[in-house]
Symmetry: C2
Subunit: 484 residues, 2 copies
């Protein structure tokens, strides 16, 4: 029919006759005819028989199967490149990987998790109810509220929390709710977290990078027209500096003066190895300008994609609407499982246990860098998190170093160049969340040989981050709070 | 300090002295001082003692705690209203609820699900790897590909599938990837699915409603400038008509002629009660114009938020970038669990079992409507899905009827008015996925008494859908494929 060999209006053989002719059961032919009728190739005229359909089918007119990609619809956004694979992308990973932002999950109490998960599913099937709250399960919101109120003094309870699919979805919802395409300017740390930038840029924002110095974001460099300011004050990503108290106050003042909001990404502050953390911006904020974004990807594990936003009350409705548009609500079963895991104390115990593990890896990494890498690398002081950033000596490019190391099977990472400045070529990142101490020793041994070989001295490809002070290749001499 | 009672520069008492004065251990005072230093309230001058910090704190200047909402940032999007609670929104639900789009989960083999889920978590913790594929677990993509290739003849395999958090996220990703804010026109069925509309509108599209007749979407009414066309051809939401083969061919031709793409939402076609489904648009498409969106919210359960898009190859990169911006990837544990559930045959068996259950409820609903509601309601013929739509007699408003019924504790639902036309007041929706036959009888008994009482004859609030033909209050006389 499609090829035109059976012309429209042609009467097809009676099913019995065709079955005999083909040597198949009549039911086979009847079924085939029924299907062809249902699909519109044949029509049945009562009392007259079955005929090839009159209406020529669209695909009969264009029978050539096009195997190659056809001309693409010319939509502008298709032209926008994606940023490509990110840190910690799927396998193959390097043989020894200082993966960024990846925790170690081997000590996770998966037995407890599975018990809670099974109970959540059983209850769900028994209750047999419907779609859940867009903003998240009340039990989980309560558990998150208690936890962050306690651990970070963030003013949170179940009525100002929205459960999200990881921190990434929080950025995406904030972009959806607040970016007016072509109008809104978003200020973001430079260097910063590229997927936060992507979320805002994709929503149509003009994204402007703001430099970092030893006190964190240089508030006076924020463009006056910025309406959204994205920051990682507890542990700047990727440099690791802590935003000083003075800068925090300035930033809150800026937001109030310029009618802006602040997105505070507190992605890994649970792991703090010395001192006491400064108050979160959300804690200091008196004017409902701060959106506090948290995640369970670092303190527990990323596979479940669980995060949250603590939102000022005035924005609750806008964020709930954005969440409903995005995916209606986060996986209810995982929400209930996590709620139990937190409420029964497994989260706190896991963080306590892992803090010791990570502290040991961090100590080892710092001591080897300090002992063996003086001519080449200098760690930026940092008290928290799951990664360290090191500045390279002036003659070494961070991008080149990271690439050469990965060619040897050692995963260390360059700072992602931002949209605004191709700087940040003077750093490399070492994640220590998911790497054994033995592997750290081995990898740094190879890395030392790489430096000693002299093969790395190549011209820089980009600019330097020059705001971090003048001493020691630009490494600030004390931690970020020095300015207070 | 904040209230200004301790002036900047004031030397605070030595810790030992204060401890004695207050009758507490010295360590308590030392700890408190350390915290105050860490937070920037106090400074330590070597050899001189501890002093109140010089830099006045931002919050000291504005000590009034503002309890009411402050002036909101004047971002345009905040003004855009959300569509509010949707069908099947959280409790309280009506006493007897014909909830739309909700399946019955009491017969789900949660034991098998939990077994697979526990295994997925155990393996995840043992493998101790990183973030997963943005487009979804290869195992799940393979399972989905096999399943839809078999059940719907959709040309899918693991390389053209993107796993999403339910169908809603698929719409949201497509909007992110293809809508150019302020430029793109999206054509959507009217009446149609409001949350799909919301996803495109929020991305900055101009959304235009296109009417439905007994053959489905009226292709000739699609505006020529439409670049994205959203349709539910298997079971139009909400009316239930099936798009005819002729219209499908016309729609594919339109897309090719006008450089547009088609979003085919095949949300509940697994449950088909008679005949054989027409080919999916994706199956008929020879020009890589169709994005086929599927969901496990109806055929399994909505709580896990699992769905997928089958995409033309040329758009794979753009959708993966959108997915990464949105939430990086879907919950890996749930993906692996669902992959096992499908691969081990539990999905097919569940669908088979539930089809009988739903068919019984549908039959009962249809027979009572036909027997007892002739003067008031007439069901629109529909072969598939989990809900039925009925046209009201001209003197009854669907909106009013649904409201009155809910006031009696019976959940039946009005058609959501679209952005473009306030029509659709001539329908009510009965979901039968999550309601017992006994409840159906009881609810329809009450509904009959409501009609008989005469209290419902009120003036219509909106226009009528007048495209569905002239007979029987506009109910088409045969099923949607009549036009072929």
């Amino acid at each position: 029919v499609l090829e035109g060999r059976l012309k429209p209006g042609l009467k097809v053989p009676a099913s019995r006759a065709l079955a005999t002719a083909l040597g198949v059961a009549r039911i086979t032919v009847v079924t085939a005819y029924d299907m062809l009728v249902a699909e519109g190739y044949f029509v049945v005229r009562a009392g007259a028989g079955t005929f090839v359909a009159e209406a020529p089918l669209a695909r009969a007119a264009t029978p050539t199967l096009r195997l190659e990609a056809p001309a693409q619809p010319a939509f502008s956004k298709l032209a926008r490149p994606s940023i490509g694979p990110m840190y910690g992308s799927p396998p193959p990973r390097p043989v020894i990987d200082f993966a960024i932002g990846l925790p170690d999950v081997r000590q996770l109490r998966f037995d407890a998790w599975n018990r809670f998960a099974a109970r959540a599913m059983r209850l769900y099937c028994r209750r047999n109810e419907g779609y859940d709250y867009v903003e998240g399960s009340p039990r989980l919101r309560e558990a998150i509220g208690s936890h962050v109120s306690f651990s970070r003094a963030v003013a949170a309870n179940k009525d100002n929390i929205i459960v999200t699919a990881g921190a990434q979805q929080a950025f995406s919802l904030l972009a959806d709710a607040f970016v007016d395409p072509g109008q809104t300017t978003v200020a973001i740390e430079d260097p910063g977290y590229p997927l936060a930038l992507e979320a805002f840029a994709a929503a149509g924002a003009r994204v402007v990078g703001v430099p970092i110095d030893p006190e964190g974001l240089v508030v006076e460099s924020i463009p006056k027209e910025a309406k959204i300011i994205y920051v990682t004050p507890s542990h700047q990503f990727p440099l690791g500096v802590v935003m000083s108290r003075r800068r925090r106050a300035e930033l809150l003042e800026f937001a109030l003066a310029h009618d802006a909001i602040i997105v505070e990404d507190d992605y890994d502050s649970e792991f703090r190895y010395s001192g006491r953390p400064l108050d979160a911006l959300q804690t200091m904020d008196q004017h409902q300008r701060v959106f506090y974004v948290g995640t369970y990807s670092k303190c527990l594990f990323p596979a479940a994609r669980m995060g949250f936003v603590v939102t000022p009350h005035w924005a609750l409705g806008a964020l709930i609407a954005a969440k409903q548009r995005a995916d209606w609500h986060t996986n209810l079963l995982t929400q209930e499982t996590l709620a139990s895991f937190i409420q029964e104390g497994f989260l706190v115990r896991h963080v306590k246990r892992m803090k010791k593990v990570y502290a040991g890896r961090r100590e080892l990494l710092l001591s080897i860098l300090d002992k063996d890498f003086k001519p080449w690398l200098r760690a930026i002081p940092s008290d928290a998190g799951l990664h360290l950033t090191a500045m390279t000596a002036p003659e070494f490019s961070g991008v080149d170093l990271a690439k050469s190391a990965r060619a040897l099977g050692i995963g260390i990472y360059e700072v992602w160049p931002s949209a605004e400045t191709p700087s940040a070529d003077s750093c490399v990142l070492f994640g220590y969340g998911n790497i054994e101490e033995m592997e750290i020793r081995k990898a740094l041994g190879s890395l030392k040989r790489l430096f000693s070989s002299g093969k790395l001295s190549v011209p820089r490809q980009g600019g330097r981050i020059d705001r971090l002070g003048k001493s020691s290749f630009g490494v600030p001499s004390s931690h970020g709070d020095a300015g207070v």
